[in-house]
């Protein structure tokens, strides 16, 4: 297809000048306001709850509690786990009423909802609700939760272990380990983080008694995925649920699932017959928006005497928090399992997973959703093996890459990789970063009293195949010949308005301004997946191309009629239908205008395709400099080379990489959700304590494209939404390890806070790592 000119993002002016329309901006006539009473402790039985005093507060209309959740039957959240565990066991799903009934299991859990004439009145009345607890011991780490005698969160989840699963071939791995020349072992932790999108969570729900249907205004990553979950939670048929999403300020996977507040607002809107609105605060966010990551991985890599990988084994402990979200459990198992071999040829693989519940905020998919975690484990292991065997790090990788002639490559676990050029990406990154000239920079830094290090990662991802079997795109043509593209995915910063419309406009040879995008219009029901797993450009963007191609074919007979030709004699190029001899022409716009008045417009098109996983990959190189006096790290340079397939718009690719790398750097250096181990209290409940990355953390990111177009979809895109996170965790950690090695410091778990780095350097002065 024709490569579009890099266009500035069409949505930017609207969004950065405050003209975006977010959920909190929506108001309905007669609406009421809700506020939630949340658990102030991590684990307790609810002995009694008395809402009467709150009901007497001025402006209060109603108070809802767990009893209302039970009456409505809103107690079982959807969970998308699609396979059985060890010995055929199904995942144990704890009950989760949308308002707690008998117990609370994490700080922030919803207990009661006050509905009042104003948000302030609702909030004031919360304090009047009387509640008696019987405190229970809390567990906030997987290790504590699995320990003998640990407090039990749910009766139906013995030992707090809700799922065990294994993948690969345990015996083959065991045999390979027995004959290995060398085994490298490393246990790593990807910390629990709070994604914290800019727009707080919130919803507005209205109920129409005549049609028994609901209108739900909420941020989302795509309306069909969320609507399906609303139906699963509430039993309300999908056709009775209209999900409205306008602009969304960041999602990161956190908005992929239904939340208790959604269900509670539905109960209230139906019972009270008035719309009910709730807008969360940042404090609500920290204690109730789904968290991300939280996986411990014990990895082992076996090599033969030639430095070739012969087997690897990973043991995962996945923290799910107090309840199962729709996504967290499946994404934290399927994605690492699919990518367990990384970009390497490893004949024998085995992974064992334990899914564990703790008294913490439930965990969901978060940018990468298991992909950064496994990439981090693999790439740290490979670096450690290189160090132990004294093989240059890039050389060890090159020696073990899946070779170019091995594609499609069926991995020993569950994936089939499409063609990629791992060695080419590596070489491009090494050159851009001047990898070979690094030692001089290390020496120069040493002269300034600094510890400088360099690290790389070579990674691969499997993009989300989606929950729905296909993605549909509709194009509608108006009387002026302008086009509106409809999809049910949702942009929350990805720039779909720019890219999807450019795919359509470029295919049709029309100016971009003639095409606009409308996502998640509840009046136009399409089948399709949400935005997630880096899939939108490959999954929906490619169907935009299919739709535009179909539109041309559909219009050719119409143009032929106008031109008085046989349809087979009509060609289309540059926005014009023309006769084969070039004598007769009619432009797209002229044809559209001529056919206006027919309803529906005969050029309207609906197209669809089934698009499975694609395989973005790349090589990132980070260079860091540590001040040993303070333990502060500066990211001195960062090079990203990504094979995201065909690049539709490089500026948007850069934006995605910038965001992903910065989120990765945030996790690596300062973000971490911390709970008090004894009490289960959340200690990082605001931006005063939670180290959200700022723009200055990664000052200069060099983004290079290394496209190997995908053959798995119509535009050749592989996706780029998450590679920044997936590649930066290991690249930064490997750079830090390299920088700290001369100081005698070995592997450190993230985050590399100044205090931790400084203490490690001090400790190594007394007792250096080998």
């Amino acid at each position: 297809m024709s490569q579009s000119q890099p266009a500035n993002r069409r949505e930017d002016l609207r969004l950065i000048t405050g003209r975006g329309r977010y959920t909190a901006d929506v108001n309905l006539t007669g609406q009421l306001h809700a506020a939630f009473l949340r658990a102030d402790r991590a684990h307790a039985q609810i002995v009694s709850i008395n809402a009467e005093p709150a009901l007497r507060q001025p402006g209060v209309v109603a108070v809802f509690t767990g009893a209302d959740a039970i009456d409505a039957g809103y107690t079982q959240f959807p969970n998308l786990m699609s396979f059985a565990g060890r010995n055929g066991a199904q995942i144990l799903k704890p009950e989760r009423p949308v308002l707690a009934t008998t117990a609370v299991r994490y700080v922030g859990e919803t207990i009661a909802m006050v509905v009042a004439e104003s948000a302030l009145a609702a909030q004031d009345a919360i304090d009047a609700i009387e509640i008696d607890y019987r405190d229970l011991s809390a567990v906030v780490t997987v290790t504590d939760a699995l320990a003998a005698g640990a407090p039990q969160l749910h009766e139906n989840v013995p030992g707090n272990l809700c799922f065990e699963w294994e993948t690969g071939d345990a015996r083959a791995v065991e045999e390979a380990f027995a004959k290995a020349a060398h085994i490298t072992r490393l246990k790593v932790l990807t910390t629990r983080v709070a994604p914290s999108p800019l727009e707080p969570r919130g919803s507005l729900v209205s109920y129409d008694a005549a049609s028994e249907s609901y209108d739900i205004y909420t941020p989302s990553q795509g309306m069909m995925m969320l609507r399906k979950q609303f139906a699963m939670l509430t039993g309300v048929p999908e056709e009775k649920l209209r999900v409205h999403t306008n602009d969304v300020g960041g999602s990161f996977g956190q908005r992929s699932g239904v939340y208790p507040e959604h269900g509670a607002l539905m109960i209230a809107a139906k019972k009270l017959g008035r719309p009910v609105k709730w807008v969360g605060s940042r404090a609500d966010g920290f204690m109730s928006d789904a968290h991300g990551r939280g996986i411990e991985i014990a990895g082992q890599l076996a090599l033969d005497s030639a430095g070739e990988f012969i087997a690897a084994r990973y043991d995962f402990l996945c923290d799910m928090g107090a309840y199962l979200t729709p996504t967290g459990s499946i994404s934290h198992l399927r994605n690492p399992a699919t990518l367990m071999t990384g970009v390497y040829k490893i004949p024998a693989l085995y992974g064992a997973f334990k899914v564990v519940l703790t008294n913490t905020v439930p965990i969901a998919a978060y940018r990468g959703a298991g992909r950064p975690d496994i990439a981090y484990a693999i790439e740290r292991l490979v670096d450690r093996a290189a160090d132990e065997l004294k093989i240059e790090r890039s050389e060890l990788r090159r020696r073990n890459f899946i070779p170019a002639d091995a594609f499609p490559y069926k991995t020993p676990t569950v994936g089939v990789y499409e063609p990629s050029d791992f060695a080419g990406c590596l070489e491009q990154a090494l050159t851009t970063a001047d990898w070979r000239g690094f030692e001089a920079r290390r020496v120069a830094a040493k002269g300034r009293g600094k510890l400088r290090g360099i690290g790389l990662s070579t990674i691969i991802e499997a993009t989300g195949a989606g929950v729905f079997p296909k993605d549909q795109v509709a194009i509608e043509v108006d009387a002026a010949g302008k086009l509106t593209v409809y999809t049910v995915s949702m942009s929350s910063g990805q720039g779909h308005e720019t890219t999807f419309t450019s795919v359509v406009a470029d295919t049709l040879g029309l100016p971009h301004a003639m095409v606009t995008l409308r996502e998640c219009d509840p009046a136009r029901e399409l089948i399709g997946n949400h935005t997630g797993g880096s899939r939108s450009m490959a999954g929906v963007g490619s169907v935009c191309k299919v739709a535009a191609d179909k539109l041309i074919e559909q219009a050719k007979p119409l143009a032929a009629e106008e031109l008085e030709l046989e349809p087979s004699q009509v060609d289309y190029a540059g926005g014009e239908f023309k006769s084969r001899d070039g004598e007769k022409t009619i432009s797209f716009v002229q044809l559209a205008q001529k056919l206006a008045g027919r309803d529906p417009h005969p050029m309207n098109t609906l197209a669809e395709a089934t698009v499975g996983s694609t395989w973005p990959n790349g090589c990132h190189i980070a260079e860091v400099e540590i001040d040993p006096d303070t333990g502060v790290t500066e990211i001195a340079s960062y090079v990203a080379v990504d094979d995201c397939g065909t690049v539709i718009n490089h500026q948007i690719v850069e934006g995605q990489v910038h965001g992903g790398v910065t989120q990765g750097a945030g996790q690596m250096f300062q973000e971490e959700v911390i709970y008090d181990r004894a009490s289960g209290q959340l200690l990082t409940g605001s931006f005063m304590d939670y180290g959200m990355p700022r723009a200055g953390l990664v000052r200069d990111i060099n983004v290079g494209d290394h496209p190997v177009p995908s053959k798995l979809n119509a535009i050749g895109a592989k996706g780029v939404g998450e590679s920044g996170c997936t590649a930066s965790l290991p690249a930064l950690a490997n750079a830090m390890t390299d920088a700290l090695r001369p100081a005698g410091v070995g592997h450190l778990d993230m985050p590399y806070t100044p205090s931790k780095v400084w203490h490690s350097i001090q400790a190594a002065k007394i007792n250096p790592s080998k």
């Binding site: 304090d127 303070t630 250096f669 931006f687």
Partner: protein
Amino acid sequence: MFQFNYVKAKSLSDAQALIAANPDAKLLSGGMTLIPTLKQRLAQPSHLVDIGGLSELRGIEVKDGQLVIGAATRHYEVASSAVVKKALPALASLAYLIGDPQVRNRGTLGGSIANNDPAADYPAAVLALDATIVTNKREIAAGNFFQGMFATALEEGEIVVRVRFNIPPRAAYEKFAHPASGYAMAGVFVADGAAGLRVAVTGAASGVFRWSEAEQALTKKLSPEVLEGLPLDLTNMNEDIHATREYRANLARVMTKRALVKMLAGK
């Protein structure tokens, strides 16, 4: 936020009367601590008496050899003031390091010292420069003003009007900003003036303090290396999820060293 009455004071005496008449009233200057506290429903004042706009509380001048700054002067005004930059450039650079642009354009000197957050920047300068805090009732020497975490010598209804800073020939401030909050994890103001050498440390401990061992050692020899191995009491150092007390003590030492180097370089 709970409901409250907002009153914009017309004058200092008006503010004084309003505070006296309403025992549950609070003074509002820049609001950089008070407003977030209200938003978290951690305070429930009956009235907010806004003194942020009072002309009696504003202004920057050099008078009788001292730099005098009105209590409601905003951080940005101090940071960008030609008068401050000329008389006491270390104070201008300190003000520039407070918070972020929004905070610097709202927050005030008086609000900062009256609140006495143990990690605020200004207390280090006020203490190191032996400043005088002028209130609507009296004058208080810096050494008597700060009384530990969020505690000051201010009495009920007492309002900071202005602060008089001594102008030393040389001074410098170095700050290690907390990665999340931007507050000082350790901030050190070093001054070499008529009263002798001063080292005041904020952020590291439960309140701003003078590192007397460092002052004595540097008085004997004004050189960074004397700070190596010098005792620094860990007892009152803060320890939390972000950093140990040992680390904060190290930061205090390193920031002292860097402030000293900066001061000696005349920057």
